[in-house]
């Protein structure tokens, strides 16, 4: 089994960020479930915020954003975690996926997570975030992980619900990645049809 790469996209807006904390724990859980070795690359969207907006306006990504997009596209799996705003992913999170090529995530295993103030927001994962990745034709794992503020401070050691969900989600992502061939970036030149064919099929 070859070493695989998992890209972690974290769209927390604060610093330090509980979204990043959840993202890191999901990455660790996934790596733990993959004994063959997993390389984790983490992308903090906060650091790319201006570049993302600029790319939306100009149509091309800056060198730093190009690097981040390449890491996501080449990764064998993606962990995407957002802070929830107004009942949905925040604008930064959505904007990052808006600058990707629409086919960039097709058939890529994705684990989704979100943070919010209270558990009342948890279904945003199902009604907003999972449909986004369905649109992008990604393969989302069944367990989506929501962490409310109180989940981080539970004094009751028996309340292991968050940890359990993180481990289950990580195992699901690991199980999706292992049997797949390593991810490769699509090459528009390799797939360009010869002209005789373009002319014939017109």
């Amino acid at each position: 089994m070859t070493a695989r790469t998992i890209a972690v996209v974290s769209a927390g807006l604060g610093q330090p960020s509980s979204t990043r904390l959840l993202a890191d724990q999901l990455a660790t859980a996934t790596a733990r479930a993959r004994p063959a070795g997993t390389q984790i690359v983490t992308i903090e969207l906060r650091e790319l915020a201006h570049d993302i907006v600029n790319s939306l306006l100009t149509g091309f990504p800056s060198p730093a954003l190009t690097e981040a997009i390449g890491q996501v596209v080449r990764a064998d799996g993606l962990i995407a975690v957002t802070a929830l705003y107004n009942g949905s992913y925040n604008g930064l999170f959505k904007s990052f996926f808006d600058v990707l090529d629409p086919a960039a995530l097709a058939s890529k295993p994705v684990l989704i997570g979100a943070t919010g103030g209270t558990a009342r927001h948890s279904l945003a994962l199902e009604h907003a975030i999972r449909p986004l990745f369905s649109y992008l034709r990604a393969v989302t794992v069944p367990t989506a992980v929501f962490a409310a503020t109180e989940d981080w401070g539970s004094a009751d050691r028996s309340d292991r619900a968050l940890t359990t969900r993180i481990d289950r989600a990580g195992a699901e992502l690991a199980a999706l990645i292992s049997p797949r061939p390593p991810a490769a970036e699509a090459d528009p030149y390799a797939s360009a049809r010869p002209f005789e064919q373009l002319l014939r099929n017109r």
């Binding site: 100009t58 030149y189 360009a192 049809r193 005789e196 002319l199």
Partner: protein, 368 residues
């Protein structure tokens, strides 16, 4: 090596004065720029084609015919002619008339156009953009080379026994460039026909275009038109100059910050470091433009965008005066570097000579 200017023909408010030119002023300004281009020794003037506000050039051959009558050496071209939404028959006719009027000083650059609604306004569908470009150009190509054409395609009324008039001047059609910023299939199309490929790389990083142009060169050779180095490449450029670099930056910044394409986005500094835009002294423009050859190898045509983002005509004409100093240096340097077997920029005279040489070879072969 050919140098010229291309204009989008946008009517944009000058952000420093709040003044918006009228359509009439803008159209006349484009003509003034073209005449100035000839005066300062440029080779090419190219106009865009648009069918929606805030743009004025909806009828390029009308404008180019008017300019042809007021110039003697300038090649009149387009950037771009919409091969998707124009009837190829009308393109064949319009540009053939223009070619006769201008005594051959005409070529054109084909593009697909990226404004969604323009397609349905002209009865087409943007999702068929590539197919339209391929089929329509194939018809245009034949109309200029076959005296009588029978045609049955997907997008246009069939033609039986159709002759596009007038026939091209001296039997040689205008040279065609295919412009694209990201589509390998258009580079493939240009290569298939042995036409030119124009990469307007001014709004995007150079690295992206290096592969596109390299692909065109390789496919040009694949289709037997010559070596990859002999393929006909054109590039865009965008400059703002003053004698002192700092003056150029200070003057251009408000235009940059409000420009329709990239305004309110990246900083001027980021954009100049990431794209071919050069804001500075004439020497900086020379240095940056010379790097294009290092990325793309010897090429045939360099067009500069000089008049967008609301720059007033007076400033544009001052810019052209400076460009008139820059271009002779670039021409000398780039012509000296170009190997003898790599062709110069295409002209009607050169195409006529090549077609006579071909005919001569055929005659020789058949008499043997």
């Amino acid at each position: 090596m050919q140098f010229g200017i291309f204009t989008v023909g946008d009517v944009t408010t000058d952000p420093t004065t709040g003044r918006t030119p009228t359509e009439h002023e803008r159209i006349k300004a484009m003509v003034t720029m073209a005449r100035k281009a000839e005066e300062i020794g440029l080779d090419v003037f190219a106009t865009g084609e648009h069918h929606n506000p805030p743009f004025v050039p909806s009828s390029p051959t009308t404008m180019l015919g008017y300019i042809a009558a007021q110039t003697h050496n300038l090649i009149l071209s387009t950037a771009t002619t919409l091969i998707t939404t124009n009837d190829p028959v009308k393109i064949a006719e319009d540009f053939a008339v223009l070619q006769h009027l201008a005594d051959g000083r005409v070529d054109l650059m084909l593009g697909r156009g990226n404004t969604g609604p323009v397609y349905p306004w002209f009865g087409q569908d943007i999702r068929k953009g590539l197919e339209l470009a391929i089929e329509n150009y194939h018809l245009l190509y034949r109309l200029w080379r076959e005296d009588v054409v029978d045609w049955d395609g997907e997008f246009r009324t069939p033609l039986q026994g159709f002759t596009s008039v007038p026939r091209p001047l001296d039997g040689v059609p205008p040279f065609v460039w295919h412009g694209s910023i990201r589509t390998p299939e258009i580079a493939e199309q240009a290569a298939f026909y042995g036409d030119g490929f124009f990469a307007n790389h001014i709004f995007w990083p150079t690295e992206h275009f290096v592969r596109l142009v390299g692909f065109y060169r390789q496919r040009f050779a694949h289709y037997g038109h010559g070596t990859p180095e002999q393929a006909i490449v054109g590039l865009g450029g965008q400059v703002y100059m003053r004698r002192n670099s700092q003056d150029a930056v200070r003057e251009f910044r408000p235009y940059f910050d409000h420009a329709p394409v990239y305004g309110h986005g990246p900083s001027l500094e980021d954009f100049t470091s990431q794209t071919p835009l050069t804001v500075g002294s004439p020497q900086e423009v020379i240095d940056k433009t010379l790097t294009f050859r290092e990325h793309f190898d010897d090429y045939q045509r360099q067009l500069f965008l000089m008049d967008h983002a609301g720059l007033p005509l007076k400033t544009v004409l001052e810019q052209l005066d400076l460009l008139g100093e820059v271009v002779p240096v670039l021409r000398r340097e780039l012509d000296a570097l170009r190997p003898a077997d790599v062709p110069d920029g295409p002209t009607h005279q050169a195409l006529v000579a090549a077609s006579l040489a071909d005919a001569g070879t055929e005659l020789e072969t058949s008499s043997r």
